[in-house]
Each structure stands twice: as C-alpha cells, then as structure tokens.
Homo-oligomer: 255 residues x 2
Amino acid sequence: MRYKCIVAYDGTLFHGFQTQGHLRTVQSEIEQVLLAINKEATMIYPSGRTDAGVHAHGQVFHFDSAIDIPEQNMKNALNTRLPRDIYIKDVVIVDEDFHARFSAIAKEYHYLIDFSERDPLLKNYRYYCPFHHVDIDSFIAAFKLFEGEHDFRSFTKNQQLSDTTRRIFQISAKQENALVTIKIVGNGFMRHMVRILVAMALEVGRNKITFERLKYIMEQKNRFLSPKIVPSSGLYLFAVYYSQEELKQRLKQDN
Amino acid sequence: MRYKCIVAYDGTLFHGFQTQGHLRTVQSEIEQVLLAINKEATMIYPSGRTDAGVHAHGQVFHFDSAIDIPEQNMKNALNTRLPRDIYIKDVVIVDEDFHARFSAIAKEYHYLIDFSERDPLLKNYRYYCPFHHVDIDSFIAAFKLFEGEHDFRSFTKNQQLSDTTRRIFQISAKQENALVTIKIVGNGFMRHMVRILVAMALEVGRNKITFERLKYIMEQKNRFLSPKIVPSSGLYLFAVYYSQEELKQRLKQDN
C-alpha cells in the first residue's frame, strides 16, 4: 500500500526536513511514528527537503506500508502520535507509480517580508526587514524579473548541479500594510534559491543595484555576484502540484 | 527618571513574567538588559504577572533610572539588546507618582479559541479546542454572563485573597470562520481567572452544564465547582489602561 500525505509543519524547532544523525528533523519524527504504527522501519520520501527554520503548509511525502489501514485511520494514527509542530492534513492511498519527488510537476513557495516594527509574536514566521527606505514597488518589480525559464546558477548553493535551469510559471505579490507576501510557482527550486532571489530583489528595492545589474548577474551564472540571502523564518513550502489540471487551476487564480 | 514601557512578548519560551530563580522569565531578561544600560541593578514593576505561555501585545512596566536617556534612545537601547521574543513598543518618561500596577484602572485580555483542525504553525498562539459539537453561540452567550460586577471566587486560583470581587466592563467576541476571539475588559483579573472563565463557558457550549448551573457556580464562590481551565497558549494581555479617557474610548469601540 502506498500512502501520499500532505503535511504542515512549523520549521522553527527542526533542523530541516531530512534526517541528520540524531538531530530533530521532520523526517525522523514522522518515521519514528510510522515505526510504531507499521511495526517496522518505514522510510518516507518527500517532494524535496526544506532547510532549518523553513515552514510548510503543503509539503508532500509518500511511504509504503505492508498493513492496509484506511486513509482516515492512518491520518488519525499519525496525528495522535506526532508532536504538535507537525500535522498531517491529508492522507490518500495512491498507485505504486506515484512518487512524491519524481511525480511532482511544480511547487509553490511563499516568502513573507515585513517592513514594519517587529512583533515578537511573529518573529519565527516572517522576515522583519531591518532596512529603511526600501521601495516596495521596485522590490516586487525586480522579483518579477525571475518569471520564465532561466539558468539560476547565480542564485543557488547547489553549484555541483549540471542543470541549473528552472521554469518559473508565475510570480505574484500581495501587500497588506507593511507585510509583503511573495508567491512563486515553478517546476523546481534549488537549495537556497528562493531566499537568494528575495535577497537580490531587495537589493534593487534598496537602490543598491539596478534592474539591469540584477539581469546581468543572472546572465553571468556566477554565484559570487549574489552573496545575499534572507532568513528561513519567512519561507513557506505552500504546495506541491502533481497534475497539469491542478497547476492550471492554481495559475489561473492569480491572473 | 521614571520610564513607562509598553512591551510585547511571545510567552512560549518564558516561565511567565516574574523572576523565578534562574528560570528564563520576561522580567529577568529585561532587568539583565537594564543592568547593562544603567550600569546598576534596576528593578522593573509590571502591571501584573502573566503565567508561563501567556502572550502580551501591551503589557506595561515602569522602572527608575539615575541616568537621563531620551525616550527614543532608551527604546532603541532596550530593543537592540533584548532577545527576539520581547519587543518594547513604546517608552515614555512619566511623573514619579505613576506606578504600572497601582495606577492601572483596567486591563484587557484576549483569548483565541479555534474549533477547526489544528495548524501546527499556530499551535502556540491559540487553543485548538478538541471538543466536537460545541455550540459557539451558547459558549459566547455563557461567557457574557460574566459582564458586570461579581465575586469571582469560584474562578480563581488565588483562594487566599480577601476580596475576590471584580468589575468586568465589557465582553465582546469576534468570529472568523472557526476562530473565536474573546475580548474582556475589567478592573482586575486574578490568577487563572480568564482561562477558568473561558473553560467554564465552554462547558455550557458543550452542553455539559446549563446557563443556570454556571450562574449557580458563580454564586456559590466555591472553586471546587469549576475545576476546568483552558491552555495559556490562547491568552494575550492586550492592553493596560491608565486613564478614564483611554478606557472610555476603548469601551465605545465595541459598542
């Protein structure tokens, strides 16, 4: 039996998603619970990793189980045993050719950046930008430069990858008072990519570099030209898409 | 120089407001920073304590300083040194007869209770009610029973107090989908009082007791008749009022 799960988590107290020795990670917490449910070691396969401090509203993973447990019962069994900073939102039984990582066709990330005075109650859930005089419109316009298909080599930590070209289907931004939510939907994201893109667009908003310079940096495919990164606390893996239909629906929504 | 400060904090990682040996508390963190600023031990006096896990948007405290630092500089000096889960929102220099506790004429608490599936990202910031079939209208109506002047002895941990009568000026409730925010403004609140009041009103919403029974429990002034309490994660000290004018403005707002 293959189960597909949608999971939300508060990344604050995790050393990221993936198992790392004895550190507390989302994967190790879930696998520990599955060991209790399935009575045997059970590996989970996520759509991809998330880094320490990154949150998820809709991360997806799958696992196989030798016992046949109905979907709702599996969901309850997991949520009853999981710590309070992880919650399984949905469980469905899928075909054996479904793979959380390889079947994914797109992902959506959100980044929350706040230009007001910091609220200590929200410190782990957004980035309180310490810079004054940011032109928010230029920041958003600069971020929109990344829409389309580009080689993002300048903007990732994964310099050993042979193919660093990714397609960004859509970028949108919502502003409520001093809080800006950036939404980005693409066919794939490399390590630190979203956080570096936000940081570099912010350099344009701060008038430290021009639009043209940002385009030039992208074209140079040189990581050393974009040394900035914003904190993980503002980043959310919002959703993973597995069908063209789902993706089309999503892209229509912001148009 | 007497300074009045308005402070916000995320109660999650504090053992409450008040200093308790070597435990991490809001008071000990602030006093440690004031020691560095004033170069001498400086006590702070809050409007009252808050318990472990309780949050504040508008707690107030005062302290005296031998050095004369302008308000905005004092605010910056504090916020630069304070941990990220405490933030000083406002600093004003006040007369020496101002006392954060004794000059207060009213306080406002909010309680956030959510009847939907839990979101792991909000687990420390509201109470996810595990009970099904709560009649939200009855719950709110029951809570409104507490408006006015009453002896709240049945609803506090502080059984050694001689006077347990308090005046509740206003109770209001706001519902957004499955989230209910209860707002309560009163001239004073005893230990655990708001959390016990919410828990007992919830018993009415769950149809475990009647309105009449809740009134009877209040009249009995007997703590053993109200053994319930809701978690501190949903509770916020929203504001402390020091003038009739401020209080009047606030009470008008929800009428």
